[in-house]
């Protein structure tokens, strides 16, 4: 694909090409490009044309591929659409072809050769964009998934020896494994004796999820921590009974508050209102709420 004359033409007409391309891209490439200021887009288009030129000069498409890789990764971060980036290449092709045609009109053979060089590079570029975009996008999704799964298994110490594990969202096998590991590490780290597992936020509890929970509870027991399962909704309770899942060995309580009260009771503690001289009842209620808040 070595094409010195074409490279020279790009060099010669660079200014015109870049200006024309910038205008076209801002008008037609898509909303992301329409928002970019002309002064900013101009050097970007110049670098693109330059990459084409060098790639042609040195007969090395890898130069353009490397350039595309760098740019597309940036654009993915900036949330450009893949079709927008591909449109830029189409527009570049559109602005190059008339130039070539004008110059080599008398010599169809050479015109055809240059024409093919441009088509070839444009075609490859579009494929690279699609491929690199997908890779970068998947990497990003994977990164977010990992962040999310780290956020999704918090182990919180609410009192000496008491941990709360609030579970939110669907639990699959992989997440269940993670939950178990995090909880067991939390137990040894905090030397916790009681663990409150709150499944208020778990929408569906089927046989698999229930088994994961039971396994987690059994493993926690092996370490020497007792578990309290709280936040079983009416629907979940129905499902558990219908599926004939045996939770008889597990202490259950209606909600997190009841769970915490049970845990404190197990340690011989309780939350009591502080006695206040004036309007004792009201103050006591406030104090109680405050005490619960402090505990959380």
């Amino acid at each position: 694909m070595g094409d010195q004359p074409l490279a020279a033409l790009l060099q010669e007409k660079r200014r015109t090409i870049v200006q024309e391309l910038t205008r076209l891209v801002r008008e037609r490439a898509g909303p992301s490009y329409a928002q970019v200021a002309e002064e900013e887009l101009l050097p970007r288009m110049e670098r693109l044309v330059e990459a084409w030129q060098r790639s042609l000069e040195e007969n090395n498409p890898a130069i353009l591929e490397e350039f595309t890789r760098r740019v597309v990764r940036e654009r993915v971060q900036e949330r450009y659409g893949v079709e927008e980036i591909q449109e830029v290449i189409t527009l570049l092709r559109e602005s190059l072809l008339p130039l070539v045609e004008a110059r080599y009109r008398e010599n169809p053979e050479i015109l055809w050769k240059h024409w093919r060089a441009i088509e070839d590079l444009a075609h490859r570029s579009r494929l690279w964009v699609a491929q690199i975009y997908r890779e970068a996008y998947e990497e990003q999704v994977e990164l977010q998934r990992r962040t999310l799964s780290e956020l999704s298994t918090p182990v919180i110490k609410v009192y000496e020896n008491v941990l709360v594990l609030p579970l939110v969202g669907a639990i699959d096998t992989e997440r269940a494994k993670r939950i178990m590991e995090e909880l067991l590490l939390g137990i040894t780290r905090h030397q916790a004796e009681l663990v409150i597992i709150d499944i208020t936020g778990v929408p569906v509890v089927d046989t698999a999820v229930a088994n994961h929970l039971i396994q987690t509870i059994k493993a926690a027991r092996l370490l020497g921590a007792r578990s309290i399962l709280v936040g079983i909704s009416g629907e979940v309770a129905q499902a558990l009974v219908h599926l004939q899942i045996d939770l008889s060995g597990v202490v259950t309580r209606s909600n997190l508050q009841a769970g915490i009260e049970y845990a404190l009771e197990q340690m011989g503690l309780e939350i009591v209102p502080r006695i206040s001289a004036e309007s004792p009842k009201e103050a006591a209620q406030e104090e109680k709420e405050e005490a619960i808040w402090q505990l959380r």
Binding site: E181, I187, A219
Partner: protein, 128 residues
């Protein structure tokens, strides 16, 4: 060829026996350990026994079952068994193997193991 036989020291503290396993046990050593334990329980008439596994990274199904057996045998001889200091990875392995040591009392560490035993024996004496 034969792996050397390892003897786990079994210490007596008041009415309790404490055995801390610090090395990976081979099957033969584990059987020796079981026999030693039962012998000591018989000699001392201890009320409780703590098997501390803090330093153990790997427990296979044989050792897991053996610990369960020891607890059952000790119970027959009137001794409570507490397993303390299981590592998270070991706990996960045991549950995956289905060896959840159902009859055994567990504790987070040696100290909590001893206080659990004290409480249990006190309760029993209270009942009796």
């Amino acid at each position: 060829m034969a792996t050397p036989l390892i003897r786990i020291p079994i210490l007596q503290i008041e009415d309790f026996l404490v055995a801390s396993i610090q090395v990976a046990l081979h099957d033969r050593s584990a059987v020796q350990f079981r026999d030693d334990l039962l012998q000591r329980i018989h000699e001392t008439k201890a009320k409780g026994l703590i098997i501390d596994l803090t330093a153990v990274d790997i427990v296979d199904s044989f050792i897991g079952r053996l610990i369960g057996d020891v607890a059952e045998m000790a119970a027959l001889m009137g001794t409570r068994v507490v397993v303390s200091g299981l590592q998270p990875a070991v706990a996960i392995t045991l549950t995956e193997l289905g060896l959840e040591l159902p009859g055994i009392i567990t504790a987070l560490n040696l100290e909590k193991g001893i206080s659990t035993l004290r409480r249990l024996t006190r309760e029993e004496e209270g009942e009796g």
